[in-house]
Amino acid sequence: MFKFFLTRVSLVIPTFIGVTLLSFALIRLVPGDPIELLVGERGIDPARHAMLRADLGLDKPLLTQYGIYITNVLHGDLGRSIVTKEPVIKEFFTLFPATVELSLFAIFFAVLIGMPMGVLAAVKRGSIFDYSTMGISLAGYSMPIFWWALLLMLYFSVYLGWTPVSGRISVMFDVEPVTGFMLIDSLLSDDRGAFTSAVSHLILPALALGTIPLAVIARMTRSSMLEVLSEDYIRTARAKGLSPLRVIGLHGLRNALIPVVTVIGLQVGVLFAGAILTETIFAWPGVGKWLVESVRRRDYPVLQGGVLLIATVVMTINLLVDMLYGLINPRIRRK
């Protein structure tokens, strides 16, 4: 297990180099100059333009720039945003809790609904329930998130008025950001309604963001369950006279979980991608929107730093998922 852990961790180094190099190179391959974009139609005289570029270190050869960047990163300095002049790391950690909160709830919702849906569809294979849930999940998977999110919002928030339209909490509650997680912060504040308000703001975005992972999890659970249910040990368990619930829940699901857990781990990356759209629509102050904005403005430090930090998070989560295998299935531990 320890050796396995070490091999996995050593893989982090090339990934780190790849991620920094890619994010550094890609944004510079795109034409456009942050200073030209900043001044717009007004324009700027060439001498001043050169001075500002030198201030940002953009006048040096690309390789030197990359070298400086990597040295700074290794010293824990991700630089400052060209636009706001704030440290990248500070901006990231102001916004990141919102993305985590939203993603956690989205994945929680996806697992809570998706797994039982998949199990039931597998058990009742060929039934109307099977066909309809698989049909719905295919639709869910193919749906453009921004369209789905707007649809949910127009129906539940504007037409029915059940949930608030956007934001993390009603503007009436002035909650001090202590942890950055609104649910926790609202509980810490004295306002009674703050927590319920925060929950109500979370429902629709989590639903919208969780739709694709839900569909993927449901389909994965179903196919994995089908495979497991045809195994000899399931027949044995049935022959022993175990209750169907124990056969499916204990012997079936537990064995079927490995690919499902992998998929859940991989969905974290999908969640971050989906968060970009969901955050923009629901005015959710997370890192997704922040990154998109940085591309538009050619804010090199923000983009590089943001991508690196998110990549780190995704790598860590997938590492943890790999560790989980052993816990779920002892057969892997022994290998």
Partner: protein, 531 residues
Amino acid sequence: MRHRSLILAVSTAVSMGFAASVAAKTLVYCSEGSPEGFNPSLYTSGTTFDASSHTIFDRLVQFKRGTTQIEPGLASSWEASADGLSYTFHLRKGVKFQTTKNFTPSRDFNADDVLYSFNRQWLKTNPDYKLSGGTYEYFNGMDMPKLLKSIKKVDDYTVKFTLNTPEAPFLADMAMDFASIMSAEYAAKMRAAGTPNKIDQDPVGTGPFQLTSYQKDAIIRYKANPDYWAGKASIDKLVFAITPDAAVRYAKLKAGECQVMPYPNPADIASIKKDPNITLLQQEGLNVGYLAFNTEKKPFTDVRVRQALNMATNKQAIIDAVFQGAGKIAKNPIPPTIWSYNDAVKDYPYDPAKAKALLAEAGYPNGFTTDIWAMPVQRPYNPNARRMAEIIQADWAKVGVKAKIVTYEWGEYLKRSKAGEHQTVLLGWTGDNGDPDNFMYVLLGCAAANNGANRARWCYKPFNDLLIQAKRTTDIAKRTELYKKAQVVFKEQAPWITIAHSIVYMPMSNKVVGYKIDPFGGHEFYGVDLK
């Protein structure tokens, strides 16, 4: 079922929260994005100005609400010398800076604050010059370093600005966002405490609202400044709920989660107009969208060709298709909201037959080949440049002119068009200070004709002389006369096809009273009340 009752309970709680808010007079504005920061001299975006200079700060002079006219601000009066080279401002007495958690002012606003605010942007010797990355794009963009000779404190309540050349628009410049007045005392205190950056993050101004909290991409909260020199604002609290998507802003307005929203989707305008709970204000924007001919390149050196293509372009079709009604045909290079707008100027009629005849006269009976540059981005003066270029292309084809549409990434586009690589280019301008000079001299003057903002690269002495004359006098009546003449010359010479001024729409709840559209495109809440 339990789930549903939870949601119901929650939404009741939320609506009760709003009921309480009306009593406390909280106005929620669904703003379009996060400000870059809270010091308006450091940044250039309108979003930043809304959150800083329009709420927290004041300037020596200001624009009368909803107009481009200048009125006294922190200076209660001023005079310009006869040669137009110096301006003396008499400062208002008894103006208090805001009291915040970091700062309690010990004295009233005075000349030291004026000197500090400008010197920080101007003099490298100022201790705060480099603070927050200090680049002061607007101060430099308005050519202040070249223009300013000295700023002197005459006494505690008198400041004298001396210029290197007479520049009549200088007074209007002093009403611009970058010229906001900061507290010298606060800056000194924060410097002494070792936290100089605080002055840009936790701003202290003399304006009608003071910042109470900000969460990036989420919310900005203000409260009314109780000591505001022009009287406390009618609303007690002002909240900016940051909502980047236009459709969502509209949904929030309908659901009562905010009372005012900027930048609606053009496609939503019809449904907004029908909504009985929403008032829709509208006004022409302080901008112009145009097509500039590169007058240094053949065949656009010939005025007849430029006139012919003016006649070949169906502007009404552009307004209908590209602006979807949210635009107005432009005939002058300045929008009608600016003083000296010459309404007597007659635009070229849409007349392909006459255009063809004129082209033949110029020696192009079978037309010629050219290009049309189209911007890759949406701008207030041009929501869809690609579509606009296509319409113009089709119009020109009817008179035999074959045009290729060219586009580049936005930064690249600006750079290349400045260098004059184009034949014809679509671009536009949004005014900074409401002075005609800010459109005509900046965009069409000889000084900008060589790799500057003058994309037509058009340097026409009779026109330029009128502009220079207008710069040299501070007499508004005389200046108006000169600019009116200049507009006639401009139309005759046709360096541009003036295409459109956009129309700005502001939807708001019926409960909002006293809101006035800011011609500069900003959003201001002093003077606004809730029923």
